[in-house]
Symmetry: C2
Subunit: 288 residues, 2 copies
């Protein structure tokens, strides 16, 4: 996929074109050190490794929603799954936080480090396309189940890998975030970890790092000393039994990537220096 | 520039690669019919004309700033020029409105019309790079001149035309907005009309349409019947004498594009149906 773009006049040669990329997903929770992630992405990129950075933004989204007097609505499904209810107004707040503040903040930080970062949402160039789930079942306080319509939520099913390969070949570092695009052309909120896993699979990435504000998968979520340092492909059910809240999606994403041929999958910590380097060298929960 | 990308498997052939693109700039003022602009962009694109859509967002930015309790600050220079003062906090609001709400709203609307739109700010891939003017002189209410530092404002001097050509060749419609990137790697607010002119020059565009919520350049800004329907290259000074407020930058941008070889430059109206089609057929103020 590299020759065309690389041979065009004025386009940087694709020195990294034949190396499988590293996909780094950094969560949007408080405590995550985005500057440290950017510094590591810059080091990797300078060393010739193609990198795709996927990011979240849920804490920024909640803060913006509160500041605008439109507090976020979380619903609990009958099976106990908690998710953000994203009507059109909430989608606008979501997009401002993810695609405006966080995405452009990361692109600016990377550019200042000499990395030619290029931000994309899943809408852009149909990068992430999937199925919309327009209604969601919500267990109300009185225990009754109500059906909420107009939800802009869904699941990524297709990745425009050609677009990412074209950009990587030309020397850019794609910085990717939700929302994705539904088959009907409507923006949908999708899980960032599973989107990152879909990107890693589509690109044949050599590594997927799912970094956030925890050390990895913990046997006891309240005790960081109970880190599970390794998981085999056969242990998905066991891992899911340990996972709570957002960690459930990370575990699902990690096993999806592993099954999709990504050789190194790590659920790691982004709260301190060199988070990407540490995860690549095996800190966190390593799946193999 | 088209062969490489077009020949890659899975990438749409660059049927439009050798046709000079049309650059459409749509302003961010109230009254502009963005849906009508998108419908016209879809028609042009479907007919095989490569299009770059550049957009503003000042009314959305002001609304968001007010809603967040951070009202916009406009300063008047000693020469009488009014501009937005963009400190880091204001830049965040600006970026959320431009790159989040307006840009992704346009991309979503175009995708729903079957156009493979791809949104980019000037930061992304160093698309728009320029000089930062870090301080601004402000005439205060008491008539004294104060120097304000920390302004994130500047002027576009370089356009990454290779990036736009690569995307156009692969069948994408780039949707572009400020901020731009300074040489130091910092985000800067730049004038959207002059940025669109720089893009049109860099791409050798066959047309630049500067559409907003006025019919064109008016001899009397208060009377829409005083439209100047045509201007020659020699009439820049006369045109600038008529222009007030935002129209001054549009006139500057229009003549910059004309001098840069863009064959058709129109300052036109985006408040009604088929605004792009009408401007292309000569409605508004035509420069030649």
């Amino acid at each position: 996929m590299t020759t065309g773009v690389a041979n065009e006049p004025g386009v940087r040669p694709a020195t990294t074109g034949h190396i499988a990329p590293v996909v780094v997903k950094v969560g949007g929770g408080d405590g995550v050190d985005l500057a440290a992630v950017c510094a590591d992405v810059a080091s990797l990129s300078a060393a010739g490794t193609p990198v795709v950075l996927v990011h979240g933004g849920h804490a920024e989204t909640d803060r913006l929603a509160e500041a605008l007097g439109r507090p976020p609505v979380y619903v609990t499904s009958p099976s106990g799954h908690v998710s953000r209810y994203t009507d059109r107004a909430a989608l606008e707040v979501f997009t401002m936080a993810y695609c405006g503040k966080v995405n452009k903040g990361l692109v600016e930080a990377l550019q200042a480090l000499g990395v030619n970062a290029l931000g994309l949402s899943g809408l852009d160039g149909r990068l992430l396309v999937g199925r919309r789930k327009e209604s969601v079942r919500s267990v109300e306080k009185d225990g009754r189940v109500r059906v909420l319509h107009g939800d802009h939520t869904g699941t990524v099913e297709e990745v425009n890998a050609d677009l990412l390969r074209t950009l990587l070949s030309a020397g850019y570092v794609p910085v990717v975030c939700p929302p994705a695009l539904s088959y009907e052309g409507v923006a949908i909120n999708v899980d960032g970890d599973r989107a990152a896993a879909a990107v890693a699979r589509a690109l044949g990435a050599r590594a997927l790092l799912l970094l956030s504000n925890v050390p990895g998968l913990l046997a006891d979520p309240a005790d960081e000393s109970t880190l599970l340092t390794s998981l085999s492909a056969a242990q998905e059910e066991r891992a899911l039994a340990f996972a709570r809240g957002r960690m459930k999606r990370k575990v699902l994403a990690a096993f999806e990537a592993l099954r999709g041929g990504v050789r190194q999958v790590v659920i790691g910590d982004a709260r301190a220096a060199t988070p990407v380097e540490r995860a690549l060298s095996g800190a966190g929960t390593v799946l193999s």
